[in-house]
Amino acid sequence: MADQGAADPGNNNNNNKPEASEGTIIKVTVKTPKDKEEIAIAEDASVTQFKEEISKRFKAKQDQLVLIFAGKILKDGDSLSQHGIKDGLTVHLVIKTAHKSADGGSTSASSSASAQAGSSSSSGPSTNPTSTAGSNSSAAPTAQPPNVLSGYGDLASLAGLGMGSANFMELQQQMQRQLMSNPEMLSQIMENPLVQNMMSNPDLMRQMIMANPQMQQLMERNPEISHMLNNPELMRQTMELARNPAMMQEMMRNQDRALSNLESIPGGYNALRRMYTDIQEPMFSAAREQFGSNPFSALGGNSDSGAQPSRTENREPLPNPWGPPNASSSPESGGGTMGSTSTTGGTNPSVSNPLGINASSLGNGMFNSPGMQSLLQQISENPQLMQNMLSAPYMRSMMQSLAQNPELASQVLMNNPLFAGNPQLQEQFRSQLPVFLQQMQNPEALSVMTNPRAMQALMQIQQGLQTLQTEAPGLMPSLMTGGIPGVPTGGSVPTENPAPSPSSAGTNPSQQQQQLMQQMLQMFAGGAGGGSATTQTPEVRFQAQLEQLSAMGFINREANLQALIATGGDINAAIERLLGSQPS
């Protein structure tokens, strides 16, 4: 065939030129089931001429040739251009063989023979998992997979395995039932080297966990979890636990003991319990809703308890290393009282409690301590807390004295973990200080503080930063350049979602950092200018609209905000967006 090709083109060209009537030569690919050749032919040639070329090239008689293009059979009387055959296109060719008609009769005879021959490579409907596993193990190097996974051997035979139900819920329940009735199954699955392999790869696990939308939701509400997930050491430990039930039990026992120690701390226990329930319940329900045999269910329950030690230890340093003036600090450091909402006057210990914790975790970066996070959580859920704290009389006087004494204020603020380790930010803040303090007394700014959505947004930023820290530790210091003024913060900040952050961390880190800076500074410093909308965060701008939307029943604040930002505050358009994006 190759020889043909070498010899002919010269002839073809020579023949074509005199025949073609000033047509350009186009190259058409002619494809047979077994072969493919490129034929040069005049653009306006007829099918007959084309077939002549082809018969030379393919060594077949012209009347044996059947040319097909775009589903049409090219008849001799047609021209190539009539069918739209242009340069570079492919025409299919079938060469009729004389004894083709005999094939139709012989297919049935040969099919039965081949069916028997073929049955060894596929499994019949009478599902034999062992046979498929057998055929698999001969090819695959891994050990024979247990019952569940042997279905991979022949997906078509899954129906036979009893998983034929197309209804996923049913299927899931079935699996769960099977698991419940057969505890061996779970350990079997665990022992499967495939699963073990999977579980020893923390990146994969994290990806899998984070890809689950329920987990994502959970992580938004409880940043500790994302913290936990992003800590590879912790992940590995947790996976070890999941694999080894005995170890898990031991760990649980330790947890319980540690927890019981906490009860003796005033105020701490209540908050702890509340937070525990906050996290534990959604975790478990999310885990339960997943695939029953999903080892993540164990992981889910475990990760929660896994987070316990880091939290409980942080509670240890209760004594207040901060002097009374420091009790105020900047509102976003989350100075919310723990558990005691209305007791304002002499609550220095409880107010400083969280700060005490934060002191111990200084250097972890912004908002990184779980204690801080849970506080922010609380605050965002309970704006009342913030309100109360800020309106406390002693708070007021504190603010005033701070405003009058910039030295003190700067000291306080600089010590705040928010700015710890960020000298540039400190500089920035210092310069903004007087304005900032003014703002503190401005009720408008205060209302922003109490805006739960604002707090949520801040939390999300913080989550993103956390992820950043673990994903790209080298990135953090280099990003602290103080931000570029006027970087539009807008929509991407509140919508920053920690779940897909492994992929987005690489793209948005600088934006996040800058946005955080810009947002805060603008919020406080720019607000004095008559509340100009341009310097306020979208949440503040759209506050009225957000409230309207939530009154209408759109409870997903994040989606509302996104929609509002996208439509520039137009409620009707935002509603359409929301409705259009409702998951079906």
């Binding site: 059979i73 596929s122 129906a159």
Partner: protein, 167 residues
Amino acid sequence: MDFTTRHNIQLYIYDLSRGMARNLSPIMLGKQLDGIWHTAIVAYGEEFFFGGEGISSCPPGGTMLGPPDTVVDLGETEVTEDIFMEYLSSLGESTYRGDRYRLFEHNCNTFSNEVAQFLTGRPIPSYITDLPSEVLSTPFGQMLRPILDSIHIAPPGGHVINGGRNM
């Protein structure tokens, strides 16, 4: 005299995972796959597909998979049945022998795509042909690759055209 019979060509799409892929793929692969697609071309009253045994045919919807999940009309062709059978037998002797089956690179969907282009000039929907690369681009898919490569999908219920070439 210019009358040419036109035959309607359809693509039968089956989800081999029976809905599991739609639900599990986000967890397992990290991306949403709506199904694990197996396709077959239905023409001239018969269903043709490529599997571990080679090119097979059966009455439409006659494999163990049952009726298709989706049917796509690929258009019409002037190709007659005997030309088509000739074409198929040539294919079955060359690139679509039974032993040429590769789950990721040369599978039933590759066959359906090629036949569809032969008959109608148009390929099959890209979400089907993109499936192997979608799966392989996830870490999970990469991990499972050695196992999956050894799988030959051959829905029982068809008889092989030009069989006897399982070498």
